[in-house]
């Protein structure tokens, strides 16, 4: 099953021409700077904006197709849209807001009690939107969209208007939502941390165009993309807890076909999670060093090398059996090690620098 999109639209002074395809279910993140055209895409998918040319297909449901003149109005599309500023109905209680879409869609797979429990809304049901905090409002808005039994959940920077504490409050809910209700999500954001936590497919949007699209683990490790030139660039790998070593306070993870040691994780073996390895923390070597504090010495193959001129740095992409790592080193190091595409290389990673993301 898949989601495929092509949107072309001209605005005065700007334009958008974007196309991508992604597997469903899963979280598709549209990532890019403000004004790149992400919200235009979301509005075209929701049906609130009719583009000059549009082709939107979700799992065999054609929502829009300019070629054949198909254009479903938003009220029949069943796209649950969570706006940046919640947009709760001020004249209704939280419970009535939640049931607004549910009453019109009829009961479906997603139940009222389930959503209330999932998003922790039990104590808010009788209250008015005016009396809620920003984070609570956004949780209600997510619940309201979910209860409309959407085929696809659209989220337009749902956390952008919240402070760091409220974000941290909602992110786990989104993670739970993703695993509990196997519903496809199209998630617009300009915050990398949200992408890293949630996305399965990453679509990079730059100036109205798709700069790259693919699995998060592939895109995050690409040395040639602007993403790799961010200070906080780094590879993301799907991982599973293999075992705990209580004595040494370490946890062994299987990720990317390799073994990683990280500080003891508070979760049961077998759990799936993600790890993020910042590019600036990955040291490269041709021979395994001895008597060194580093726990992770991961063998791989050099796949690509790109220049990061402003930083006087080189970005090295290291292929693992599954997935890849990204390393930022000096061009001098690349020369000294004789790195070139195809050359074997060891990636040295301190356990302390691996970010473990339990969703």
């Amino acid at each position: 099953m898949s989601f495929s999109l092509r949107v072309r639209h001209r605005f005065p002074g700007a334009g958008i021409d974007a196309a991508f395809e992604a597997p469903t279910p899963g979280v598709i993140a549209l990532f890019g700077p403000s004004g790149a055209g992400k919200s235009t895409i979301i509005n075209a998918v929701a049906g609130l904006l009719r583009p000059d040319l549009g082709h939107v297909v979700l799992d065999d449901h054609v929502l829009a197709d300019s070629a054949s003149g198909v254009w479903l109005p938003p009220e029949t599309r069943r796209m649950g849209l969570v706006f940046q500023n919640a947009r709760l109905f001020p004249h209704m209680s939280v419970a009535t807001n939640l049931r607004f879409g549910l009453r019109r869609a009829g009961p479906g797979r997603i139940g009222f009690e389930e959503v209330v429990a999932l998003l922790g809304l039990g104590g808010l049901l009788g209250r008015r939107p005016r009396t809620l905090s920003g984070g609570e409002r956004q949780r209600v808005a997510i619940g309201r969209a979910l209860l409309a039994q959407p085929r696809l959940l659209l989220m337009d920077e749902p956390l952008a208007s919240l402070d760091a504490a409220r974000k941290a409050e909602i992110l786990p809910f989104l993670g739970r939502l993703k695993s509990a209700l196997r519903i496809p999500i199209l998630y617009v954001t300009h915050a990398l941390e949200e992408v890293v936590q949630l996305a399965d497919t990453l679509v990079l949007i730059e100036a109205g165009r798709v700069a790259a699209a693919g699995a998060l683990s592939d895109i995050a490790a690409r040395a040639d993309l602007p993403l790799a030139r961010r200070d906080d660039a780094g590879a993301v790998l799907a991982a599973r807890i293999a075992a705990h070593d209580e004595e040494h306070r370490l946890t062994r993870l299987d990720a990317g076909g390799a073994t990683f040691w990280v500080p003891l994780v508070d979760a049961a073996p077998g759990l799936d999670l993600r790890i993020r390895i910042p590019a600036r923390e990955v040291i490269l070597a041709r021979q395994a060093p001895e008597a060194i504090s580093v726990h992770n010495i991961i063998p791989g193959t050099t796949r690509a090398i790109a220049e990061d001129a402003p930083r006087r740095a080189a970005l090295v992409e290291i292929a693992l059996p599954r997935g890849a790592l990204l390393s930022r080193v000096t061009p001098d190091a690349v020369t000294k090690l004789g790195l070139e595409p195809g050359a074997p290389v060891l990636a040295l990673i301190k356990s302390m620098t691996i970010e473990v993301l339990v969703s």
Binding site: A46, E75, F83, H91, R104, R130, A145, A148
Partner: protein, 228 residues
Amino acid sequence: MLSSEEWQAVRLTLAVAARAVGFGLPVAVLTAWLLARARFPGRSVLNALVHLPLVLPPVVTGWLLLIVFGIRGPVGALLDDWFGVRLVFTTAGAALACAVMTFPVMVRAVRLALEAGDPGLEEAARTLGAGRLDRLFSVTLPLASPGILMGAIVGYATCLGEFGAVITFAANIPGETQTLPLAIYAALQAPGGEARAATLSLVSIVLALIGLLLSEWVGRRLNLALGR
């Protein structure tokens, strides 16, 4: 304090105003919605027509009503033929004249409320599966209800004072079309009627004040209830 004839004028005035608002308000809401939201050819003509009674001399409005709704007028003749309804010189006619005169006031109040509404909420309702009419009744009108109610109250209060169009179209018939302002006028015309005119004027002032205070209070309460 008031004679039975004076009471009759007060009761009649309140009844005429109620009918005028009862029939006029739904039309005013629809018109305001069209003017605020819809884009169609002739929109500015409709807008001008709606506001016409506000700027025309009321006596001209009354005379136009006579031409259109008179027994031989295009609409009046049909009403008489089909339903046996005569508007000229009747209470219903007085209500019609009042409704036409206060129509601009009501449309304006409702339109302001509609335009102040957040279109984003209607978009949200749309993505949640609400069609056009559904959105109108579940989101747009409830959120505009303070404006609609204010329009009704101000319209009602304005009706209480309508004179020129009513006397031209419905004439000055005690118990039939003689509302408070017409009764005051009649009292002033009669020799020695000053005291009666003063009493009725006092009643007018009290009614107008009640209307204005009520609209303030109701507006505040509604805004609170709507969570603003």
